[in-house]
Subunit: 426 residues, 2 copies
Amino acid sequence: MTLSEMNKEQLSAFQQETLARYNDFKAQGLCLNMSRGNPCKEQLELSVDMLDVFNDGDFMSENGIDVRNYGLLDGIPEAKKLFSDMIGVGEDEVIIFGNSSLNAMYWAIQTAFNKGVLGSTPWSKLDKVKFLCPVPGYDRHFKVTEFFGVEMINIPMTATGPDMDMIEKLVSEDEAIKGIWCVPQYSNPDGICYSDETVKRFAALKPKAKDFRIFWDNAYCIHHLTENPKCILNILEEAKKVGNENIVYIFGSTSKVTFPGAGVAVMGASKENVEALKKFLGISIISYDKMNQLRHVKFFGTFENMTEHMKKHMHIIAPKFKLVLDVLNKEIAPLGIGEWTEPKGGYFVSFNALDGCAKRIVKLCSEAGVTLTGAGATFPYGVDPRDRNIRIAPTYPSIEDLAKALEIFVTSVKLASAEKLLREAK
Amino acid sequence: MTLSEMNKEQLSAFQQETLARYNDFKAQGLCLNMSRGNPCKEQLELSVDMLDVFNDGDFMSENGIDVRNYGLLDGIPEAKKLFSDMIGVGEDEVIIFGNSSLNAMYWAIQTAFNKGVLGSTPWSKLDKVKFLCPVPGYDRHFKVTEFFGVEMINIPMTATGPDMDMIEKLVSEDEAIKGIWCVPQYSNPDGICYSDETVKRFAALKPKAKDFRIFWDNAYCIHHLTENPKCILNILEEAKKVGNENIVYIFGSTSKVTFPGAGVAVMGASKENVEALKKFLGISIISYDKMNQLRHVKFFGTFENMTEHMKKHMHIIAPKFKLVLDVLNKEIAPLGIGEWTEPKGGYFVSFNALDGCAKRIVKLCSEAGVTLTGAGATFPYGVDPRDRNIRIAPTYPSIEDLAKALEIFVTSVKLASAEKLLREAK
């Protein structure tokens, strides 16, 4: 029997029973964290041999520059080769950044605000700048555009990507719309892969604003949870086919390949975009950490080796995702009080509770010692209009801790749902 | 006899003789670089053992965070301790950045433009923002303020620091003046150390603009060329004495302590400034490279060890500075065609040619295979009003290459000076 099929008495009994269970958990004084997409210790150990690659005493990049010194603003050639393969662009269509792709995105937007895009009016001189935000999405993306005073417009996600009809209509009509945030492969948090049609329609977008850019954050491009993954279409190639190659900025990083604190971030774009951006990049920094770039290159050698390396991550984290789905299927599905995604990659399971329950669930979990991403965080301005989406990040805890945290989570979902239905039954 | 004492015939003979010598050099097809303050290979080798510090397999910061993972936006506690000692602030008055202090300064200014300073009007909303620029100064500072559309006002340097009378007058009158660029210890390029009085007057500045900040780039705070160096006064301490501790942002880095491409940058400021800035920092990045922070801490242990380490740098580069001064004293002093500084630290010798000769000298050097920092680079907008200042960076070349480069430099100075005096004699 689902919860909504229960009468008031049944609901009340269910609530009492669940509350007792919840209070038992609370009394245990646990402290578990499922809030952020952090790799676990076992994953971090996978890349520790990378720290020995300079034992050969060779610090020269292949073009004869000592990576320990200043210079090579846009990266060493061998890093450009490796990471352009990762994000699917050419070696002359890439800039290698520091340890943070978020920082590269922030910089790209900040540069557009100060200097425009390929000679357009600086966005800071415009009355209004708007971004499209597929929801639910990545909270840190939304924080960046919020920081710069950008008006954010929610775009619903579908099983094949964001609602393209809505996007095409909006960008063709409103010149103030300057960009869109996308996580095209294993979207954050839904884990949706944009379909071929979606990518083609993005590649062919003809926005009214000539300085519109797709911020294509391909954060999980090689972060698969299955043995034979399907990768999304290459948007830059598709855009070139229709003469639209300046439409997209692509981002990626090794934060969840090697070390989240000490990886390498990368940006890909058309040659014209890259050349224009490089002129401004040198104002903000002399050069990024080329030792870390060479460290990565020496450790992986080839992109093929990187993808092999990712299988080791998969073997560690796939069982955690399976546990989440097993528990939700067993505990929540029969009650009809939630829906969730079954991601084939990425770092999250996206859970939709009954409307109006997300904040309450996150609060209940928190009071019982389980930290989740704040309810609403997956929406611009932290406002989930239906207050239902919760992002579950299962990678960091051990399987044992994850199991405990999930028990508390499903108990909280049940309790909040019963409370809601009881309120409505009054 | 100085060049200006020569009659036209003598000058002409001098010019012919110098030109012949210059053409001999040119024919050698040399390729030498004295353009940037790059450490030499021998200096880079001093820190290579830093790469082995994780052989112990211990990646935990002292507060129990794994430095390989996300987190600790403002730095690990032990890095705060070490680097707050370096720049002379408290552990709660510091933010640890990535590999670039220039990037930290850029970020601080960009943040002021977007969000103001401690709640002031964002600078982007003001009609005009001005910065004071002691000249000659650091080209990359000026490029940052130029990027943001700041109007830059030249302030003459004196032997004790920038002209404080002029600074005090300007900032007390003009609310549009929001900052000043300073390299207080071994100024770039003059190598001047701000006197105690200068530091005290900076610390006590009462600008009309409440959101005025001193950008105190203490890039060379431990980069001495003598055994018993005198350090400048601690500006934050002086500012506290007069209740003015929010006036200054302090910057430093290990770019010329460990590796220019892979050091650690740091910012110091009052607690109030630091707390306000940290709120915005998290928008642009999740965390900086904490592995590199811990690498530095494990390598040095204490600030005392860092200063000992700097003596090794001194032993490598002090002879290069001595060579520059010896050659200038021997070749240029008797002719009265230039003046220069005798720095006790830092990375540069600042050379002032006869007015109107700097561009010509740099061009002559370039055509004979010696790259210098572009003439004018040490002034805002690249405009040296007297076209006389040239920044000599002697650290990177070997002593042998430096000797060759200096021969070409002094020959170019002589030639350009003779040309000028002959023109004027007509």
